[in-house]
């Protein structure tokens, strides 16, 4: 097991290298210069100043040199200064925003897991019963209603309408956490419920389940003892990348609820051609994802010993 983890971590290095190289190449091949200011009221920068800036950021050097410089600095944890937020380094910005996104993401994930998985199990046990339909309904709602619509809906109903929540957004007190958590968590909740249900249904049809039943095991212990272990494998696969996606923030939810997280950079950095920020969030996402997948694979091997860890 330890060897397995080690191998995976060693493998992470070439993976990250490949990720960074692909991103670097595509990013530089995409039309649009990062040298122009991003602010809405800003006018374009004159050519001389552009050259100055290019020199400052090392954009005047050949691409392969730029890439090597990037690698050298990145190894020391230095991703450079953001082209948009010119007075902050990318590391500073991410150190400030990533924990907030992670916090919100984990709360949303917790909501999704705690409600979604039991809902899926109940639905599978009561196939075609009311709970099953409820599960279908919630799952459909979670996925078919995008989080930006949900966000506005929640604000209109709970802030302006009922007045249960005092503010439309912010990140000051736990009260501010409620609505963004729901808006962000409902989608994953729906997905998890669906996956759990269908995989549980699948497992309960397997022959060994029937064998277990034939052996006289009661429905409850059948479900908990046998089906659960196997039925949770597919949702588990999803949980890894889901954590990575939800834990790094959502552009819409964070913008609409004024959550000071990193979600907006996934759209903004690309639109602004903020090269250092793009590289940093791609790598951060890549590492986070790899770690989550590693965790998932470990859980896999625990739940299903037949899967060999290679």
């Amino acid at each position: 097991m330890g060897q397995f983890i080690l191998r995976r971590l060693v493998w992470l290095v070439p993976t990250l290298l490949a990720i960074s190289l692909v991103t670097f190449v595509v990013m530089h091949a995409t039309p649009g210069s990062p040298l122009q200011p991003m602010a809405a009221n800003a006018n374009p920068l004159p050519p001389a100043a552009q050259q100055n800036l290019a020199r400052k950021w090392g954009l005047d050097k050949p691409l392969h040199i730029q890439y090597l410089t990037f690698l050298k600095n990145a190894l020391r944890g230095d991703f450079g200064t953001s082209y948009v937020y010119k007075t902050s380094t990318v590391t500073e910005i991410l150190a400030r925003t990533f924990p907030v996104s992670l916090h919100l993401g984990l709360m949303a994930l917790l909501l999704a897991v705690c409600v979604g998985i039991p809902l899926g199990i109940l639905a599978a046990v009561n196939q075609n019963g009311p709970i099953d339909y409820l599960c279908s309904f919630v799952a459909t709602l979670g996925v078919a209603v995008p989080n930006f619509v949900l966000a506005i809906f929640l604000i209109v109903v709970f802030v302006l309408g009922a007045g249960v929540i005092p503010r439309t957004g912010g990140w000051n007190s736990p009260v501010d956490w409620i609505l963004p958590t729901i808006a962000l968590g409902l989608g994953p909740l729906g997905i998890l419920a669906r996956y759990t249900r269908s995989s549980m249904v699948e497992v309960m049809r397997q022959d060994y389940m029937r064998t277990a039943q034939a052996k006289g095991l009661g429905p409850r212990s059948v479900v908990l003892g046998h089906a659960l272990k196997n039925g949770l494998l597919p949702p588990l696969t999803i949980l890894g990348p889901m954590t990575a996606a939800v834990g790094t923030g959502s552009f819409f939810v964070e913008t609409l609820f004024r959550v000071p997280g990193m979600g907006r950079f996934f759209a903004e950095s690309m639109l602004a051609r903020d090269y250092p920020m793009i590289m940093a969030i791609i790598l951060l996402y890549g590492i986070f994802l790899a770690v989550m997948n590693l965790v998932v694979d470990l859980c896999y091997s625990v739940l299903d010993p037949r899967i060999r860890l290679t």
Binding site: N41, A42, N43, P46, A49, S88, I155, G170, W171, P260
Partner: protein
């Protein structure tokens, strides 16, 4: 020629334009400032300076002395002051749409920060006139090549340090220092040796730059030559100072909360990134006694969410009303009272390409004008947020032409179709593919464009596809004259038809013309009008030009846009210009907070 009346000197205007060009403050902003200082005749000259072709000789005037504007303290002489009892807590709340990159205007004028933190030597008032600020007066030598600013002795930085001439000397040199790599340093190239120092040419050092504090309160600026407009530069936000001790201690981070020391009417007390910025009155600022607001809270709220925040009473001023919410706002007993409609002083129009079929046929262009129902667009599509446009200059401006020219603009589908008789498109047939292009700019222009496309389809049988592109991409293609049918607006910079007619439609600018229409008679009319001293004659010339445009179908003018904002009833004394229009803070006028008062609520 009197170098102090810089707006009358083509050479001076050319130099000033170069400065503006260096910071890429566009031509409109430049002309706006010139217009504010010297009126229309100055603008005509300025146009010549920035590549226009107006042949007007400035008269060598010697009447007045600089600076333009008096030395009266602004904020003390507001027309229409607050009625009612003031609230105990003078707090104003308005959102930022995105987190600023810093508040370091001295380094990057587009940092997106809070302008109220800093005070320049001068300031712009609501009518864009330069007024004294940190400098209580200034004077120049004979040819306006050396300017001396006399600073107030009673203004302090937010940490209690006195604001001195050394601050400005150091700050401007900081901006120019090549090590600082300030992107818009070109703004200060009028200072002697500033350009070679900034570009590291020759052996120029800081000490060679032509700005010197001769004592704590006297700043002498030695320029590359006569620059009568220099006070305009000194009042612009790019000339804001930085606090030396803070910069030296904190480097790039000197405008973070806790580090930031500022000399403006307000000081930074809190900045939680992506959450909120809070500024409070700087009691050391010379005019603090006349500023009522104690505190401004600026949560970071994206535009999509700001109306919700306003309705939940989290902000006092929501400046970008959405068309899709207007009906509800108007029907709401409370919101309708808080709604503030304001003229955007602009014109939305169709610019057909004169070299591309079918618009190379004059009758087609004329027919289009009769096929568009402007009243419906304004009253129904825009829900009243606009006025029908028949000519280029918007209402409320001097030189507005009230004539509707119904023979060219009346909505008359029959007439429109009959105009096509004898053309290849008779009976609304044989149209080539047509594309209408606009930049992404919110819901109202898009809805209007969709309506226009339908009207042209219905009345003339045109099949037009609608293309919405990114701003820069569309403007690039437009100036390369690649757009077949351009749906575009012009916002007024300064109150004169010269702006709307000459600047937009004149065809002989060496830097390239905005539109494809070129007409000798028109070009002569509008360039001559700029130099015409007789006001009535001048306006007549513009009216002739108006009619000429309609006769030729140069453009199809559709509507003059308005917008609305929402303002809480307890916010009083909102700045207004001489025309009575609301003037919120923007690039040039940045002193809105100084005027505001909060009533008891």
């Amino acid at each position: 020629m009197d170098k102090h009346r810089w707006w009358e000197d083509p050479e001076q205007l050319r130099l000033l334009y170069k400065r503006f060009e260096a910071v890429r403050a566009d031509r409109r902003q430049f002309l706006q400032i010139v217009g504010a200082a010297g009126g229309a005749s100055a603008v005509a000259l300025a146009l010549a300076a920035c590549g226009g072709g107006a042949e007007t000789g400035g008269d060598a005037g010697v009447q007045t002395t600089p600076p333009p504007g008096g030395t009266q303290a602004p904020g003390t002489s507001q027309p229409g002051s607050a009625e009612g009892e003031l609230a105990e807590e003078q707090v104003f709340r308005v959102n930022f749409e995105t987190d600023p990159t810093s508040h370091d205007f001295n380094w990057d004028l587009y940092c997106g920060g809070e302008e109220a933190l800093f005070a320049m030597l001068g300031q712009f008032d609501e009518n864009l006139q330069v007024q004294p600020d940190i400098a209580e007066r200034w004077e120049a030598n004979e040819d306006a090549s050396v300017w001396t600013f006399y600073l107030r002795k009673d203004s302090k930085w937010s940490n209690g340090d006195p604001v001195t001439a050394h601050d400005y000397e150091w700050s401007w040199k900081r901006q120019l220092d090549p090590a600082t790599q300030a992107p818009y340093a070109g703004f200060l190239y009028d200072l002697k040796n500033a350009e070679p120092f900034n570009l590291s040419q020759g052996n120029f050092t800081r000490d060679d730059v032509g700005v010197k504090a001769v004592d704590d309160y006297t700043l002498v600026c030695t320029l590359e030559g006569p620059r009568g407009y220099f006070p305009v530069l000194a009042a612009y936000i790019a000339a804001a100072p930085a606090h030396r001790a803070s910069v030296e201690q904190y480097g790039d981070k000197w405008t973070e909360a806790g580090n930031c020391v500022s000399n403006g009417p307000f000081k930074l007390v809190e900045w939680r990134h992506d959450e909120i910025i809070v500024v409070e009155k700087n009691e050391g600022y010379w005019n603090a006694a006349n500023i009522t607001l104690q505190r401004v809270e600026r949560p970071i709220i994206a535009s999509d969410a700001s109306q919700l925040a306003f309705e939940n009473n989290e902000i006092d001023w929501h400046y970008r009303g959405q068309l899709g919410q207007l009906e509800r706002v108007q029907n709401d007993p409370e919101l309708s009272k808080q709604m503030v409609k304001y003229n955007l002083y602009g014109t939305w129009y169709l610019a057909p390409h004169f070299g591309m079929p079918p618009f190379d046929v004059r009758e087609v262009r004329l027919a289009m004008s009769h096929a568009i129902d402007r009243d419906t667009i304004v009253n129904v599509v825009l829900k009243g947020l606009g006025e029908p446009a028949y000519t280029m200059t918007p209402p409320g401006m001097p030189g507005y032409n009230p004539n509707k020219y119904e023979e060219y603009t009346a909505y008359d589908p029959e007439k429109a179709r009959s105009l096509l008789k004898g053309t290849p498109y008779e009976g609304g047939k044989n149209w080539p593919p047509i594309t209408l292009t606009q930049r992404e700019e919110g819901d109202a222009p898009k809805a209007a464009a969709e309506a226009i496309i339908q009207m042209l389809k219905e009345n003339l049988g045109m099949n037009i596809s609608h293309e919405i592109g990114e701003q820069r991409e569309v403007y690039d293609r437009a100036y390369k004259h690649e757009l077949q049918l351009w749906w575009v607006r012009w916002y007024i910079d300064y109150p004169d038809p010269n702006n709307t007619q000459y600047l937009v439609w004149y065809s002989k600018f060496p830097t390239g013309s905005r539109h494809t229409w070129a007409n000798e008679e028109y070009d002569k009319l509008v360039s001559d009008a700029a130099g015409e001293k007789d006001e009535q004659k001048r306006l007549d010339m513009y009216r002739q030009a108006d009619e000429l445009m309609l006769r030729e179908g140069a453009g199809i003018f559709v509507y003059h846009p308005y917008n609305y904002g929402l303002l809480k009833p307890w916010v009083a004394n909102f700045p207004k210009n001489a025309q009575g229009e609301l003037v919120p803070t923007w690039n040039v006028f940045v002193r809105m907070y100084d005027r505001l008062k909060i009533l008891k609520h």
